[in-house]
Symmetry: D2
Subunit: 326 residues, 4 copies
Amino acid sequence: MPVPPSNLYPAFNIVRLSHIELIVTDLARSRAFYVDTLGMQVTDENDEEIFLRAMEERGHHCVILKQGDEPAANFLGFKVYADEDLDRAAEFFSEKGLATEWVQRAYQGRTLRTHCPQGIPLEFYAKMDRLEPIHQKYERYSGVKPLRIDHFNCFTPNVDESVAFYNEMGFRVTEYTEDEISKKLWAAWMHRKGNIHDMAFTNGVGPRLHHLAFWVPTPLNIIDLLDIMSTSGYLANIERGPGRHGISNAFFLYVRDPDGHRVELYCSDYQTVDPDLEPIKWDLTDPQRQTLWGAPAPRSWFEQGSTFVGSELREPDLKAQPIIAP
Amino acid sequence: MPVPPSNLYPAFNIVRLSHIELIVTDLARSRAFYVDTLGMQVTDENDEEIFLRAMEERGHHCVILKQGDEPAANFLGFKVYADEDLDRAAEFFSEKGLATEWVQRAYQGRTLRTHCPQGIPLEFYAKMDRLEPIHQKYERYSGVKPLRIDHFNCFTPNVDESVAFYNEMGFRVTEYTEDEISKKLWAAWMHRKGNIHDMAFTNGVGPRLHHLAFWVPTPLNIIDLLDIMSTSGYLANIERGPGRHGISNAFFLYVRDPDGHRVELYCSDYQTVDPDLEPIKWDLTDPQRQTLWGAPAPRSWFEQGSTFVGSELREPDLKAQPIIAP
Amino acid sequence: MPVPPSNLYPAFNIVRLSHIELIVTDLARSRAFYVDTLGMQVTDENDEEIFLRAMEERGHHCVILKQGDEPAANFLGFKVYADEDLDRAAEFFSEKGLATEWVQRAYQGRTLRTHCPQGIPLEFYAKMDRLEPIHQKYERYSGVKPLRIDHFNCFTPNVDESVAFYNEMGFRVTEYTEDEISKKLWAAWMHRKGNIHDMAFTNGVGPRLHHLAFWVPTPLNIIDLLDIMSTSGYLANIERGPGRHGISNAFFLYVRDPDGHRVELYCSDYQTVDPDLEPIKWDLTDPQRQTLWGAPAPRSWFEQGSTFVGSELREPDLKAQPIIAP
Amino acid sequence: MPVPPSNLYPAFNIVRLSHIELIVTDLARSRAFYVDTLGMQVTDENDEEIFLRAMEERGHHCVILKQGDEPAANFLGFKVYADEDLDRAAEFFSEKGLATEWVQRAYQGRTLRTHCPQGIPLEFYAKMDRLEPIHQKYERYSGVKPLRIDHFNCFTPNVDESVAFYNEMGFRVTEYTEDEISKKLWAAWMHRKGNIHDMAFTNGVGPRLHHLAFWVPTPLNIIDLLDIMSTSGYLANIERGPGRHGISNAFFLYVRDPDGHRVELYCSDYQTVDPDLEPIKWDLTDPQRQTLWGAPAPRSWFEQGSTFVGSELREPDLKAQPIIAP
């Protein structure tokens, strides 16, 4: 199945990825990681939850850490353009036979909870409490200086099906990897907000969260984080990088939070607002697609991910294995 | 007049600023500046014109240098979402009583030429020839490593009127300066593509182009350009900076091309895709609005600009002067 | 008087500049500046004094802040190669008729206090308490990430005389400015440790301290400091920069501490260990000697400095004025 | 054998490492690597040799590429303080029973050729032709922007013996790795010029050159080089990095030239001019000594090196193997 053409007039208008709720098993330990080490800002917290934003965000939260017994991701949150898009979204999912419900979420307007056919729990909202800008409170920057949430990346048992569904929701493919033999998609990067992706899919046991990512100012901030993590007890949490991706052209680092949730620090991809932007195709056998330069990814990076609360895992339909450099 | 609320459903859909045609008086001299010094890439050239793109652009051109007798800007180009948006745009301008014509432009599909009520010549197109990506041809990066055209900034004799008109076209205000006494706008930054601006307006004799801007990777690339320009005969072309703007938070440098056209090198502003993003208001008397830190702007920066071909200049309606630090 | 040839075998062996004692009028206010803003590390403190080191230094202190009634600099400290160099130094100064005394200094071995003919109080030692390395304690880096003290710069009423004297002590000239008419030195940069300078002299009412300087990792750390200072109450303390010096090639920023003591943040000069390194001569009329690019220095930068405790000021012998760009 | 105390008064005075002559099998191919890719500057060339310098060097050459049949290193060059140091050096080596000869070298004054007891060919000179400064010719910077040669690193069959000999020549140990069981040195870093090293030794079949290194401005220049090499045919020449060394604290990258000679790009170590600087000891079992963070070194990095012309190889006396992370 080829990459579908851009769907220029989707049924409802998603602005961007917005936030994620992560179940963590030791809230204080996670706080030390996200706040004291990465440099995220706390916007509210209690014994059960911590709400975080990055430095240039005005929405109340991009990450919610929630105390629980088992690490998991509860949902992926997306912001829609206007309140009426929520009704259109509810209709869109209902027509597909996908269950929807209106849920109450702290600091948000009405919120639609549903899931995609591959089982990823999704929440949509139009309004979230807006906070005072802090992007020019420079004495508060620390760690990797996270500026904003940039994207989610998920394992899916069928990338072609995931791409087709998110394409229908208006996500446009910017780059993709195709298995040359089966002509099926191995992985795809899809966006709404105008850079490489809000959402990426990779072939694998799924649905699972592969990682969430934060945009940081420059590669030097990622090097600063490496220096800090490697000398303050987080050396083992550095999983892959630094390096430059072939796909997306981004400079990257992958780290694991204390529960194993994977976080990417990411910068320097490119603008993709043109609706006629041609997706870039990469061959599954080209090792530079993942790593333009830098050490190959470890096995854990290919295999491990966070399960979603309430979603059943399924083996991937495509069995070919990614090329792992020795 | 207050900043108008975002117009969420404009009559036609502009994706982003796209390109500019600059009349220059010595094409070879301009080539030395834009290509050999700034690092722009030539996509076509002949005795009369040079077409340029920046490193991550796939559209054929973002700057056209055209040989002429007097320095001027010929028009500002914008890309619309789909071909049908061109017809809607033609109708929109016609209904306002603003002359439109369909023009032939090299490497572009059908192109609508018109102008805004304040007299800025505008050209809209949906399709431009697409070129092979070169953003990963790293041996071709040089100079300031320009990645893409970022914005235009124009003098207008009435910022309130300009803002109202571009707001009707769907441009949303991200930051603005208000004259506290008259409650009129002194300057405003308006975007379509999701960062601080595609287009900014400043009170002054107009319409004139204040500057065009290129996005560059990091502040260090701007420092590299300063080192190069100051030791290769372009010291006098450095007009203002480096510094950080209060408005936009961008790290910036302003240079003048050999004809005096002003070019900004710009990086590190922030994402503005949220339709409910609250515009940030700056007081005209706050010197940090222009320069969070850095030397004050010289008089030339406040006063000089490029005229547009065929547009008549008008004195500004608002007479208050900007605060120029001594 | 021409620049004297390098004195390859001086009477005693100075390794490098080492430390300075600054009299400040509000110790807590100075601590907020040097520690909380610049990022210096406290190695000891009491009600009267704060001892500071930079991140890669293992000697106990490079700055001593001392509570007093009037801002001043108490002395400039230098480390000599071996204990016997202290005796040779004492003999050297005594033979010149310059008063010497052995003083007790906290955390130091025996220390010789004396002064140069132009009146700068100097202290020499061979041993200072050594502390554990902290250069890889990356979570402790903050502010401008100061790595080490780099140099002192002083006004002197006669640069030729100062250069001749420090040349006799083994300091070698790396760059200098000459008044083309009188053929006298306007300023000179002299080193012992192998970069542009441990000590610089500028023509002016003296002896006075023009500034002390810290070496920082990259220009981006200086930009970070500008962002922090301009948004945390220190905007008025930014005096000059950022820019690149023609002389030394360094990227620089000058800030003033709460008492007006001038501090330079400095990086990217070059290695000068070759004893046959030819000094680079700059013409007093070349504005790029001070500022390869960047805004011209303000008048305060040319005129203001910190007096030395117990030293009498003298008008400069050379009356020509520096060229101040308008 | 413990690390020997610093020898403060060696028999002759070496200023710094200076240059190396590399035998290469295809001069044009090597020129493409060193000049067009790394950014070295050609100071002279003919059919047999190319002389190179880095951007801030004023000596005529730091690398000589010489056409030959087999890749090898011909000698390591060092600059001494004064002409009389050459005679003292000749006496020093003769007394040790090590052969010396006075050789003619282009662009140098009289030059002493000899070798250390472990067989590394060494050449000493006091005077080399000096060239005009180019460090402010910024339009000539390219590639990784190499500023100066920084150090040599050699395999030696007995690190204790090498360290003892170079210590006698005045090199001081800054950091070292000890085998905890045998209490013998596994590796040591020794300097003359005031940073981590002019010369390092690692246990292994030797004598062989492990690598030569160039100092570059910032980690971003190393990232630039990675981007360039990985997209212009040199991907396979990237051997290890980027990363930060525990030892030296430097940010590094190792690449191989077309003949396999290893070149390190290196920045951000620290100042070591204090004669009482305590060497930092690292345990051979601590993986952070080599890589504070970053991927482990590949086997080639531990095993391969360039032979020296005319030197016989010897198995190392210490047989313990380095810890290679899996």
